[in-house]
């Protein structure tokens, strides 16, 4: 029935038949990790290309179109260039931390990908505290940015890093609280379970008013979490040059760059899973029975919905001016956080009074 699933199942059985159990599971984990790494490194590169194409579309340009058809190999070429470049850095940098920082950022970004349910079966790591895990992992990234900015021994980088610390710590609250609002409906932190619950209608429909508010807050805070415009203060080009990664070059810079795009994908993927039914198809399509015939089509739905939200975030970036640092903090602590707490109470009331919309 499901080709992709049967392949993984066959590999699983084959591995366990030729190896002792412990070795087999370790080999399987490594295999999965390598596949995820490869797939998402390439996916990250193509998100860069997508961003450039979207930006070009907004800005009356054509965008990359020289390397490969429609510029499809452009980011590959860029990545190759970055890999082969000499690594330069400041002489008085704190070498150990300076070299460590990019790994914090990229590892935290890639680790978060493990828990997403791409379809019912296609999930690397289904833990019962999925949402909590995502929150925890995504906050490791900021350590990398802080450490990188601080150890570069550059004042512009330091200002960028300080801004990033202030901003990410603030907006994590909003991301967490808006997701918690949705958890009130599902009653579970497990991502696969959260998607299952949405068979009665996507959570943004089930939770109607508070869910829509939570989604808006999540999108604002999520954009701030990924440090993208209008919250790109940490690398604010016109103010700080390049912010925290001023002194990074070559592959180390590429890690920061790639992590930004993978983080954007993650923020969009969380939104897809929690608000828009993850891999589920829209309810008006269920009667066609496509999903029953090909369960793997869920991946298409998942990635499709995620890309729509990614596009939304790109739209923000190429439209809005940047906020100032005090305005960013005012927005979070004076507006989003109180609103979020009120919204949480409202959602609790709605769930308690059974006012959710069940299709």
């Amino acid at each position: 029935m499901n080709i992709s699933l049967s392949i993984t199942k066959n590999i699983h059985e084959w591995l366990f038949s030729i190896m002792p159990e412990g070795v087999a599971s370790i080999t399987e984990m490594v295999l999965i990790a390598v596949v995820y790494l490869a797939v998402f490194a390439v996916a990250g590169l193509y998100l860069v290309l997508l961003e450039r194409k979207v930006a070009a579309w907004f800005q009356l340009r054509i965008g990359p179109n020289r390397v490969g058809w429609w510029g499809l190999l452009q980011t590959m070429a860029d990545a190759l260039k970055l890999v082969s470049k000499e690594l330069t850095g400041t002489e008085k940098a704190d070498k150990f931390l300076y070299n460590l920082a990019p790994y914090f950022v990229i590892v935290s970004a890639l680790m978060a990908l493990a828990v997403f349910p791409f379809t019912q079966e296609f999930q690397a790591f289904d833990i019962n505290i999925g949402v909590l895990f995502l929150m925890a992992i995504s906050s490791i990234g900021v350590i990398g940015i802080l450490v990188g900015g601080w150890s570069s021994n550059n004042k512009f980088a330091l200002i960028g890093a300080m801004r990033s610390g202030v901003q990410t710590i603030s907006y994590e609250l909003s991301v967490g609280l808006s997701l918690l609002t949705m958890v009130l409906i599902t009653g579970s932190l497990q991502l696969s379970e959260i998607v299952e619950v949405q068979k009665n209608g996507w959570l943004i429909v089930q939770g109607h008013i508070p869910a829509v508010i939570a989604f808006m807050i999540y999108m604002i805070a999520g954009t701030a979490e990924t440090n993208r415009a209008p919250f790109d203060l940490i690398e604010a080009e016109s103010e700080l040059g390049a912010g925290f990664h001023t002194e990074y070059s070559g592959m180390k810079f590429a890690y920061f760059f790639l992590a930004e795009f993978i983080n954007m994908f993650i923020i969009a993927a969380i939104a897809t899973t929690v608000f828009f039914g993850g891999w589920l198809e829209p309810s008006w399509l269920t009667s066609l029975g496509i999903a029953e015939a090909f369960p793997a089509i869920g991946v298409v739905w998942f990635v499709g919905k995620t890309l729509v939200i990614v596009f939304l975030m790109m739209w923000f970036r190429w439209t809005f001016p940047r906020l100032r640092i005090d305005q960013i903090l005012t927005l979070e602590w004076k507006y989003l956080l109180p609103l979020n707490l009120l919204n949480l109470v409202l959602m609790a009331l709605i769930v308690w009074l059974n006012l959710t919309i069940q299709l």
């Binding site: 930006a55 907004f58 800005q59 009356l60 340009r61 004042k155 512009f156 200002i159 415009a229 209008p230 790109d232 203060l233 604010a236 080009e237 016109s238 103010e239 700080l240 040059g241 190429w318 439209t319 809005f320 001016p321 940047r322 906020l323 100032r324 640092i325 005090d326 305005q327």
Partner: protein, 373 residues
């Protein structure tokens, strides 16, 4: 006692940071020495000299026809207006009356230059506050003006279209049609600027009440152009000392009294509307006639001092010539708008954040080669 010790331990320290000469926000090679406490600006010291080409000294060496070419390289975004300033100064000194046709064409191209300069400013202004798309919209419209210039005189940026006594060439037969097309196009596109940037709530919050310059300060710092008018200082040379064909047209001097960054921004956007209105009034009745009057091959100004001021895109540009009756000026001094406008940067930026400094600096619309001649 206890609290004092704690306060001492956490005493914040001012630090020094070098913004420029290579920095995206300084638009060229301006170096700012910033003293910062955290994010708060304590002191801004502009450091000039990175693009000094001693244009004023070179003017003492050159003939008056050659000087016109040097002025292109000062404020390259309003090169036509710079040329015009020198030509007017020389013509007034020689007491030449240029034909009406020349006056009208000079005014039309001058206003086109102003629009081109303001569209470019609008583009980079948006970039400085983080909205990257504005840059391309600004350049889209500026390109059309540059195309008109290219067809008129062969150059897109450093035009050299003026000569003492008139114009280098007559206008191209397509000129009138293309200018009209541009005006029709730009009338539909200028509201787009407001929709994209001006009305944006983030932009309003970034600009309103930031970088305030009072009218008194504007006058005492010698601010001119949109910077002065944003503070309510009526300083439009086109209005008060009309030159070329500007006394024949009706236009409003755009004034705002708030004196903040938003006021300076709005003055420039409104000025583009006014410039379009000036062009519309003139474009249909360009008088027939010669495009220049004959001057001597070697221009010798009479002995004395001559001053001519014009309204460049950035403000009042003054040309002060001291002549000893030879073919070169004894001394030629440019009063450039950017220099005076930059001098007030410290005044409006202190106490703000780094982001405010960049936004305020963008509303001053500095062009470094104009400041640093």
């Amino acid at each position: 006692m206890e609290t004092t010790t704690i306060n001492n331990n956490f005493k914040s320290e001012e630090y020094f940071i070098n913004m420029g000469p290579q920095h995206p926000a300084t638009h060229g090679v301006l170096r700012l020495l910033l003293t910062i406490d955290g994010e708060i600006i304590k002191k801004v010291e502009p450091d000039l000299g990175y693009i000094h080409r001693s244009i004023e000294k070179m003017c003492e060496r050159d003939s008056y026809q050659q000087i016109v070419h040097l002025t292109d390289r000062m404020d390259y975004l309003s090169s036509h207006i710079n040329n015009e300033a020198v030509c007017l100064a020389v013509e007034n000194a020689l007491e030449i009356e240029v034909p009406e046709r020349v006056k009208v064409i000079r005014t039309i191209i001058g206003e086109l230059t102003r629009i081109a300069s303001h569209t470019l400013w609008w583009g980079v202004m948006g970039m400085d506050v983080g909205a990257l798309t504005t840059y391309f919209l600004g350049f889209r419209d500026r390109e059309l003006i540059n195309d008109i210039f290219e067809e008129t005189c062969g150059a897109r940026l450093t035009m050299n279209y003026n000569i003492p006594g008139g114009l280098m060439y007559d206008i191209h037969p397509n000129f009138v049609k293309r200018v009209k097309d541009f005006i029709a196009h730009f009338k539909t596109k200028l509201p787009e600027y407001d929709r994209l940037l001006t009305g944006n709530v983030i932009f309003q919050k970034r600009m309103k009440g930031v970088g305030i310059l009072t009218k008194e300060d504007a006058i005492s710092f010698g601010a001119s152009g949109p910077v002065g008018r944003g503070s309510g200082y009526s300083c439009d040379v086109r209005k008060h000392h009309a030159y070329s064909a500007l006394d024949k047209v009706n236009f409003k001097e755009v004034l705002r009294t708030e004196g903040d960054s938003l006021a300076r921004y709005e003055v420039r956007v409104q000025e583009m509307w006014e410039s379009m209105s000036i062009i519309e009034q003139l474009i249909d009745n360009i008088p027939e006639g010669d495009y220049k009057v004959a001057t001597n091959a070697v221009i010798k100004l009479p002995k004395g001092e001559f001053y001519q001021k014009v309204e460049a895109a950035r403000g009042e540009l003054g040309v002060y010539i001291v002549s000893t009756g030879t073919k070169n000026p004894y001394r030629l001094k440019f009063r450039s708008p950017g220099f005076s406008n930059l001098s007030l940067l410290n005044h409006i930026a202190v106490g703000g954040k780094i982001g405010d400094l960049v936004a305020s600096m963008a509303t001053l619309d500095i062009v470094v080669p104009d400041i640093d001649r």
